[in-house]
Structures are given as structure tokens and as C-alpha cells.
């Protein structure tokens, strides 16, 4: 880690500490924002679960708490001083930034064994990538609101950092942790295996390990790790499997229709009861359906497959929050070199800003002022999702264009049409 990266991290830590201490009401204010805290990540709900857990009751009684049991075990070991909690969240962000620096240093985003971008030189240096994550207002707000998505993000970024270093087992273990915390990262397993395989040290590759056996080993490691975490949780919650239904069941079945920035809550409020199961399946399947297609088409750049899948799930997962988008944006900053190829950067930036500013206002109009209704907030979440969708698709376009230009350098800079 160079000095600049170090400076960036120190500055970010100081900034967060100042935010926590100089504005004592800010953390609680942000914790209550539906954009930052969802039913499956909210810090407030975590405290409720902790209270029940420390008083010897099942934390899932009452249907408020929907988070993984290991979080309970972790937070009960912490001293009850809020500063410690702040430090834990800041540390988590620092670890994320460190992973990003590792990923950027490896240069996998610009050159993989099968593809080297012709725009390699314009990629951002590691410190800039770290800064793009640490000083992103979405990341800062997420850190201060203290949803547990922060830990999921750290686990995902750690997995990716291990993946680009070719440490398949470590990557898959970190991914198992992320999946354990919030289920959807399980979709990243295939591209993660590809990423780790592509970046295996040359020595190991020469041993002639095929992708098939490599994937089988990693998949079984993942399964064992997931089962191990599940068993551990079973032990923590006093020998009850209740946590499965209360955590992953909630992700899958959406019993809590608290508004968030996603598309599900309004849709399932309106849905006819007899079609609810069907559309739950459709929505879940919709998340998974891109996996194989992206892996095949972007086989040369598995890191970008991971990025894109994170982008898609930040729009379409059951309880998305700003924290998911922050993760996508931070990974996207590794692809600075393709930004000039994107066509809708102005549209996306302005739409994101528009939604960011109007979202809280419309939520206020609906919930507090009473002069608006649910459609106000839902409309703004649609705009938000539209912006992220356009960003995801534009990034895919730019990456494909970049691959194409690498194959056909004579076409660089020329206009193209799709046929």
C-alpha cells in the first residue's frame, strides 16, 4: 500500500469519526432512513434482536429481527459503548477499501489472461479507487447508518480481493460469509470461481488443473463453509433452526413490505394474493437468470461479471438499499478506463442526483406531511432503479465495445450501430 492510499484511508477514518462525534444525532437519524436500512439490515432491528438474545429469548420472536445469528454473537462480545460500534463499522469500511486497493493493484480490471484493454493507461490508480469508495456520499451515509450490509460488502470485497490473487479457497470462504449474511451473494459463486481460476499463479496452473475439478473443489468448500456457518448459528440460537425461516425466508418470501429503494414492496402490496407466490418466483428467478448468460458472454472478464451481478442485484433484490449501490459504484470505479465509451453518463448522473434529492422529500411528503401518497415515493424509487439500470447496461455496452476495439483496433473511435 503506497502512501497516498494510506493518506486516503486516514482521511476517511477521520471524516467518519467527525461525522459520528460532531453530529451525535446523525447516526440515529440515518438509521431510520428506509433508503439506508432495510428490514434485513437495519441497525435498530439488530439492537432489538440483541436485546431479546441477551435476555435469553429467541431473537426472532416478534418478527422484527431478520439478520444472521452470528451478528448477535459478534455484537454481544462488544462493549456496549457506542464508540466501539462506530469503530467496528469504520474498520469494516477500511477493510473494504483495503480490498479495493488490492484489486486495483492487481490490475485485473484492465488486463486478464484473455483480454487486455487498449485503454489500460487511463485506469485509476489504487488510491483513487479507494477514495471513490471511501468518499462516496452513499458509502459514508451507509457507514453512519450502521446497517449490517456494511459487513456483507466487506466480505464480498474481501472475496474479490482474494479471487484476483488466485486464492480460490479464501475467496470462496469470504463469499460464504457474505452469502451467510445476506443470501444473494451466493449468485456470485460461479464468476468468483472463474475469477480465481483465471488468476491462479502460473506455477499452479502448470500442474494442469482443469476448470472443472477446480470449480468442484471450490463449490464443495463453499457448501461446507455455508453448512458450517449454519450449524454454528444453530448452536448460537440454542439449537433451533428458526433462524433459517426468519432470515433467508424473509429474503425469499418478502413478508415485510416496509418501503425501500427497490421495486418489490410496492409490487407485492398491489399483487393479487393468489398470484403472490408466482411473482415471488418470477422476481427471484429474474435475479438468477442473468448469471449464466453473463458468465458466458463476459468469460474474458469475470471481475466485470461480478460487478454487473452486484449492480443487477442492487436493483432487483428483495430488500436493496443505498449500500448495495455504493458497492456496485465502488467496483465500477475499477473500470474508469471504459467511462469514455459510455453513452449516458450525463443522464445517469443527473438521474441519480435527482432521485437522491427527491427521494427523502417524497418520503417525507408521504409519511410525515401526509400530503403525498405511496405513489410519490415509489415513483422516485423507479427513477432511481432506472438510473442504476441504465448505468449497468451502459457499462456492459462500454466493456463489450472495449473488448471489440481490442480485437479490431482500426474501429477505435468510430460510431457503431447495433444490428
Amino acid at each position: 500500500m503506497d502512501r497516498r492510499s494510506f493518506t486516503v484511508i486516514i482521511a476517511a477514518v477521520v471524516l467518519r469519526l467527525v461525522m459520528f462525534t460532531a453530529f451525535p444525532s446523525l447516526p440515529d437519524l440515518l438509521t431510520n432512513r428506509v433508503e439506508l436500512s432495510t428490514p434485513v439490515t437495519s441497525f435498530k432491528r439488530l439492537q432489538e434482536g440483541l436485546f431479546l438474545y441477551t435476555h435469553g429469548l429467541s431473537p426472532y420472536d416478534g418478527g422484527v429481527f431478520h439478520q444472521a445469528p452470528l451478528l448477535l454473537a459478534f455484537f454481544t462480545t462488544l462493549p456496549s459503548n457506542p464508540i466501539v460500534v462506530y469503530l467496528v463499522y469504520i474498520l469494516s469500511d477500511v477493510l473494504s477499501a483495503y480490498s479495493l486497493i488490492q484489486i486495483a493493484t492487481s490490475g485485473v480490471s484492465v488486463s486478464t489472461p484473455y483480454h487486455t484493454s487498449s485503454r489500460k493507461s487511463s485506469a485509476w490508480p489504487p488510491w483513487a479507487v479507494a477514495a471513490a469508495f471511501l468518499f462516496n456520499p452513499f458509502s459514508i451515509a451507509t457507514c453512519i447508518a450502521r446497517p449490517t450490509i456494511v459487513f456483507t460488502n466487506t466480505a464480498i470485497l474481501t472475496a474479490v480481493a482474494k479471487g484476483v490473487q488466485g486464492q480460490g479457497i479464501a475467496a470462496v470462504l469470504a463469499l460464504a460469509m457474505a452469502s451467510y449474511l445476506s443470501l444473494y451473494p451466493v449468485l456470485l459463486l460461479p464468476p468468483m470461481i472463474l475469477l480465481a481460476y483465471d488468476n491462479l499463479p502460473a506455477v499452479k496452473k502448470k500442474k494442469g488443473r482443469s476448470l472443472g475439478s477446480f470449480a468442484a473443489v471450490l463449490a464443495s468448500v463453499f457448501t461446507v463453509a455455508a453448512v458450517g456457518l449454519g450449524t454454528l448459528s444453530w448452536g448460537i440460537t440454542g439449537g433451533s433452526w428458526e433462524f433459517l425461516a426468519s432470515t433467508y425466508g424473509v429474503h425469499l418470501l418478502l413478508p415485510d413490505l416496509t418501503p425501500n429503494v427497490g421495486l418489490w414492496w410496492y409490487f407485492f402490496i398491489e399483487m393479487f394474493d393468489s398470484f403472490r407466490e408466482f411473482f415471488l418466483c418470477v422476481f427471484q428467478l429474474h435475479l438468477a437468470i442473468y448469471l449464466a448468460g453473463l458468465c458466458l458472454r463476459l468469460r474474458k472478464q469475470p471481475l466485470f461479471v461480478i460487478t454487473t451481478l452486484l449492480g443487477i442485484s442492487s436493483i432487483f433484490k428483495s430488500y436493496p438499499s443505498i449500500g448495495d449501490t455504493a458497492l456496485y459504484l465502488s467496483l465500477l470505479s475499477l473500470y474508469r478506463h471504459i467511462f469514455p465509451l459510455m453513452r449516458y453518463t450525463f443522464f445517469v448522473t443527473s438521474t441519480l442526483l435527482y432521485a437522491t434529492l427527491l427521494g427523502p422529500a417524497f418520503y417525507h411528503l408521504w409519511i410525515y406531511a401526509g400530503s403525498g401518497n405511496a405513489n410519490f415515493f415509489y415513483a422516485i424509487t423507479l427513477v432511481w432503479s432506472l438510473a442504476v439500470t441504465v448505468l449497468v447496461s451502459d457499462a456492459i455496452f462500454a466493456v463489450l465495445r472495449d473488448e471489440w476495439e481490442t480485437e479490431r483496433p482500426e474501429m477505435k473511435g468510430k460510431e457503431i450501430v447495433q444490428i
Binding site: L263, S274, C281, A288, G293, R297, I312, N375, V392
Partner: protein
């Protein structure tokens, strides 16, 4: 419209994402620079074609292997098997011909030839009866041979004895037992006496018979032709039951509260001023009304509460008119309420008469008018009270003594509670006619059994029609269970009726009605009743349009390409 806009837009976004994926399938080679528009696009490399096929295949594999089975499972309609034929036959009244055989014991210790008399009377009764489902059966009983089989309930006991000399035939009903004392004149004449016995019995049970026949007729579309119609009017002086006065019966039926195993009674004291401030309602109810409630216990249970409301004003549309006494100097007089006023007498906007129980509430109200509107009289009512059909009763109490003004004693409440007791019986549907309370209550039991039978059968009929009318409605297995429980209860009730065990019939009828209602108002079914088939278009279109179209187009393009490749290879070969 705007409410339903959301999902469509969501689907549009989903389609945008799909389009992205579709875009990602476009091979780089198929992009062509604008400046070279005229040139045909350069051919795909085989590697790219292969990838594209795989990508399209990967989408379709997920759709077909996971999507379609899920669609099939999640939208499958489970229709629990229902005994439709049986349900229909109950609804049509074909399954059970309800019978009400009333057993009447005759005690005639002093008569010379009781068997013969009974035969004659039975014959006369059968002849005169034009509603065969409800018939009286006489049985001679001697005190010694009284069989306590406990099987069949005895509707009444006739006690025949000699009357005082010179008097005509007469009968006396005891108000608190089922015994009917008949006195024959000493100049005993079997013919005239048998006619008298028959007409007495008919008179006593006429009202009940009319009610039951009305109840059953209203349900069964095809009433069974009565076998004895027309032939009954013999010249022996038997009074044929007057033709069913349908309008009168309908009026009576219309005020009856729907049967429920429990009722809530609310006694309310509404006073136009600040007094009286208390009343001995608890003592009064327990002393004057509780015996009746206990007697009714076999039919329905009751819960009781009371309330006082001060400064309860009449609604503005009710204006009593001042009628001076015709002979007074002008000071004496009364306020009267017109008949139209009574229908809006209850000031439902301001009087707290909201029911808090899950079962029906019957309200009884004592209204005490303000001093400047006193005395308040309903000219058409001798008791100064009136009954509100299916709702309750109201009595206007004009305080007489000074003491009444602050405290209503138990004794002062007695007339009111006597009226309420009568009103309660009327609201529950007990016949007004025979003076004997046990006979009236037995009557009520039979009537309520008939009512339950009819209502449960018609609910089954509605369910039957509903399941046929909506072939896509799902029927949970709980409905099937409830229906079979209803059917078995109905059958049992019908058998109990035939055997003359009316208490058991009521019990079974109650269960049948409850289960039938439960089946018909099954939560998951009620919602679907309002879900027309066309809505499915609205449900599937957002999915099929934006999500299905790119998938289908991509597959189509791919298939066309494969066909072209095959043709080309054939030509080449």
C-alpha cells in the same frame, strides 16, 4: 389506473435489463460503422456464434427448467372434491323432508272409552291437517304405564276430566307447564267432545304450524302436495285451520332476529335530563328476566350488560306534539309521538349503541323524557312501548313519583322488564298464542330447527352454485371438511326431527349452519369471487410483454439463423 401503474413500470425496467442482456449478446462483428453502411456486415466468427447460442440457450434453460414448473406449481388451482350432488339435493329440499311429529299424551282416567275417543280425534286432526310435515300424534298414557324412554319429547299432555255440571266443554292452559286441562261437560257426548279436543289442539298449535310451513315453503321451490287437502272439512264441526295468512306470518318473520347460539342483551337507560342517576337494573334483570333467559338457555345463550346515558336528546326529526286534555283548562295534557316518529326515535348518531360482541346484540331502551316534554305518550300503544324489528325494544317511562327522578327501583322497572320479556320472545320468534310458556318454547325450538335447516341448506346451495359458476376458484380442503360436516349434521338433524327429538335437532342444525357458513365464507375463496378471469390478462401481460418479447425474439432469430445455416450447408453439399 395509477395504482396499477407501478408493476407495469417495474416490468418495463426488468425488460430494460433484459434488453441489456440481449444487447450483450450482440457480437462485436455484427456492429458496423455508419460510414460503411452499404457494405454487408462482416461475417461472425464461429466462436462468437457459438457464444451467442449458448447465452440464448442459458436464458431458455432457466425459463423452461425452473420457470415453467414454478409457474405450474404456484398457479395450480386446488379444488378439493365436494359432494356436489348431495349439496344440490339439500339445496333443492329433496334430501330431507323435514317432519315435525308432535307427540301428545292423553290422560283420561275417568273416561269410559278413551281409545275410541283418541281414534276419532286423531282422525279428525289428520283430516283437517293440510300441512302434512307438521302433525300431531296422540298417545294414551296411564299414570302407571308411563314409559320414560327419554326418546321422544312430549309436546303437551292432555288431561281430560269432568267439568262442573251444566258447563260446556272448556280447557285451561297452565302458564308454566305443558299440561292442558280439558273439561268435558257432564252430558258426555263422544262426537262433540272429540271435535272439541281436535279444535283445541289445532288452535294451540296453529301458529307454530303456519310459521314452520312458511319457513319450509320459502326454501323448497316445490312444496310437496298435501295428501289431505280438500277432504278435511267434515261436517262434524272441526274448525279447519284458517288459510295461512301469509302476509301476517311474513310480518312476524320479518322482525325475528337471525338465529345465533348466543345473543347479547343491552339494557340502556336514556334520560333527557341528568336524572335518574342510577337504576336497579341488575337486580331487576336477575329477578324478572333471568327465569326466562334460563328457560331459553336450551335454544340460545345470553350475555347481558347495561348502561345509562344522560342528556340523551331525541333526533331533531322527532318532535312530539302537544295534545291538551279535551276537558282540561289548558294546563293538563300530554305529548304524543306519531307513528312516523317511532321509526326514527333511536338517535343512532348520538346514542352509544354500538355492539362490541361478535354475536348479535338486542337492545332494550328505557327512555325518560325531559320534564318539559312529560308525559310523553305513544297513543297507539297501551304499554307506551314499541318493538323495533330485528333490533330490540323501546319503552318510554314517564316518572310518576318524585323518587323516580333520582333512583329507579326494581319495582319501578318491573313493568318495563315485563314488556321487554314479551318483546324478547317476539324478537326471538316464539309464537304469541298459547299461554303456556313451555309449549311456546318448544315451538320456538322446532321453529329455529326448521330455520337452521333451511338456512344451512341454502348456504350449501349457494356454495354449490359458486363452485360451478367459477371453475377457476380454488377450494381449500378445509371447505371440503366443513361441507361434509354440514351434510352429516343436516342428516342427523333431519333424523332427529323425524324421531321427534327437537332438542337434538336444534343442536345438529346449529352445527350445520355454523359449518356451512364457515365453508362459504372461507377467506381465500371470498377474495377470488371478486377476481374475474380478465384480470389474469392484467397479471400476465406486464410479464409476457417486456420479459417474454426479448426472450422470444432472441430465440426466433437464433432458430432462423440455424435454418439458414442448414440450408446453406445443403446447397453447398
Amino acid at each position: 389506473m395509477s395504482e396499477r401503474l407501478g408493476p407495469d413500470v417495474a416490468a418495463t425496467i426488468a425488460s430494460a435489463a433484459l434488453a441489456v442482456a440481449a444487447e450483450s449478446k450482440i457480437p462485436p462483428e455484427s456492429a458496423v460503422s455508419i460510414s460503411q453502411k452499404r457494405k454487408p456486415p462482416p461475417p461472425d466468427t464461429p466462436e462468437n456464434t457459438h457464444t451467442r447460442s449458448l447465452v440464448i440457450l442459458s436464458f431458455w434453460v432457466v425459463v423452461i427448467t425452473v420457470g415453467l414448473p414454478l409457474w405450474w406449481i404456484t398457479t395450480a388451482i386446488y379444488r378439493a372434491p365436494l359432494p356436489l350432488k348431495e349439496m344440490q339435493s339439500w339445496a333443492d329440499g329433496r334430501a330431507c323432508r323435514a317432519e315435525f311429529p308432535l307427540l301428545i299424551d292423553v290422560e283420561a282416567p275417568t273416561l269410559p272409552d278413551p281409545e275410541n275417543l283418541l281414534k276419532t280425534v286423531q282422525h279428525a286432526l289428520d283430516d283437517a291437517n293440510d300441512f302434512s310435515a307438521h302433525h300431531l300424534r296422540l298417545r294414551l298414557s296411564t299414570n302407571s304405564s308411563r314409559v320414560d324412554d327419554g326418546e321422544e319429547s312430549v309436546a303437551a299432555t292432555l288431561r281430560l276430566s269432568q267439568g262442573t255440571a251444566g258447563s260446556p266443554h272448556s280447557y285451561v292452559l297452565s302458564p308454566s307447564s305443558r299440561a292442558i286441562d280439558l273439561f268435558y261437560s257432564p252430558s258426555y257426548n263422544p262426537t262433540s267432545f272429540s271435535a272439541f279436543v281436535a279444535s283445541t289442539l289445532q288452535e294451540i298449535f296453529a301458529e307454530e304450524q303456519q310459521m314452520i310451513s312458511y319457513l319450509l315453503a320459502s326454501s323448497a321451490p316445490a312444496p310437496s302436495p298435501s295428501p289431505s287437502s280438500g277432504g278435511g272439512n267434515g261436517g262434524n264441526g272441526v274448525k279447519v285451520v284458517s288459510k295461512v295468512n301469509t302476509a301476517e306470518i311474513a310480518r312476524k318473520m320479518s322482525r325475528i332476529v337471525k338465529y345465533s347460539p348466543m345473543y347479547h342483551l343491552t339494557f340502556s337507560l336514556f334520560t333527557a335530563a341528568g336524572a335518574p342517576s342510577n337504576w336497579e337494573i341488575e337486580e331487576a334483570v336477575s329477578e324478572y328476566l333471568q327465569p326466562l333467559l334460563d328457560a331459553l338457555g336450551g335454544i340460545s345463550g345470553f350475555t347481558v350488560d347495561s348502561q345509562i346515558q344522560f342528556y340523551a336528546s331525541l333526533s331533531s326529526s322527532v318532535v312530539p306534539t302537544w295534545v291538551p286534555d279535551s276537558e282540561g283548562e289548558g294546563a293538563g295534557g300530554r305529548y304524543t309521538l306519531k307513528k312516523e316518529d317511532l321509526s326514527s326515535f333511536i338517535n343512532s348518531a348520538e346514542w352509544p349503541l354500538v355492539s362490541i360482541t361478535s354475536y348479535p346484540t338486542i337492545n332494550f331502551i328505557i327512555y325518560i323524557p325531559a320534564a318539559d316534554q312529560s308525559p310523553l305518550i305513544i297513543p297507539t300503544s297501551s304499554t307506551n312501548a314499541f318493538l323495533l324489528p330485528q333490533w330490540g325494544g323501546v319503552m318510554i317511562h314517564n316518572p310518576l313519583a318524585e323518587s323516580d327522578n333520582t333512583h329507579l327501583t326494581k319495582e319501578a322497572l318491573k313493568p318495563a322488564l315485563d314488556i321487554f320479556a314479551t318483546q324478547l320472545l317476539a324478537l326471538l320468534g316464539a309464537p304469541t298464542h298459547p299461554a303456556s310458556l313451555p309449549i311456546r318454547l318448544d315451538s320456538l325450538t322446532r321453529q329455529r330447527s326448521a330455520e337452521l335447516l333451511v338456512s344451512a341448506s341454502s348456504t350449501l346451495g349457494s356454495l354449490y352454485r359458486l363452485t360451478l359458476a367459477l371453475p377457476s376458484i380454488s377450494i381449500p380442503s378445509s371447505v371440503s371438511t366443513s361441507v361434509s360436516s354440514t351434510l352429516s349434521s343436516l342428516t342427523a338433524a333431519c333424523q332427529e326431527l323425524r324421531r321427534g327429538r327437537f332438542g337434538g335437532a336444534l343442536e345438529e342444525g346449529r352445527n350445520a349452519e355454523q359449518q356451512a357458513e364457515k365453508a362459504f365464507f372461507e377467506k381465500s375463496m371470498v377474495g377470488q369471487v371478486y377476481f374475474p378471469e380478465e384480470h389474469k390478462v392484467a397479471v400476465y401481460l406486464p410479464l409476457m410483454g417486456p420479459v417474454g418479447a426479448p426472450l422470444l425474439m432472441a430465440a426466433l432469430k437464433e432458430i432462423l439463423r440455424l435454418v439458414r445455416v442448414r440450408k446453406a450447408s445443403k446447397l453447398g453439399g
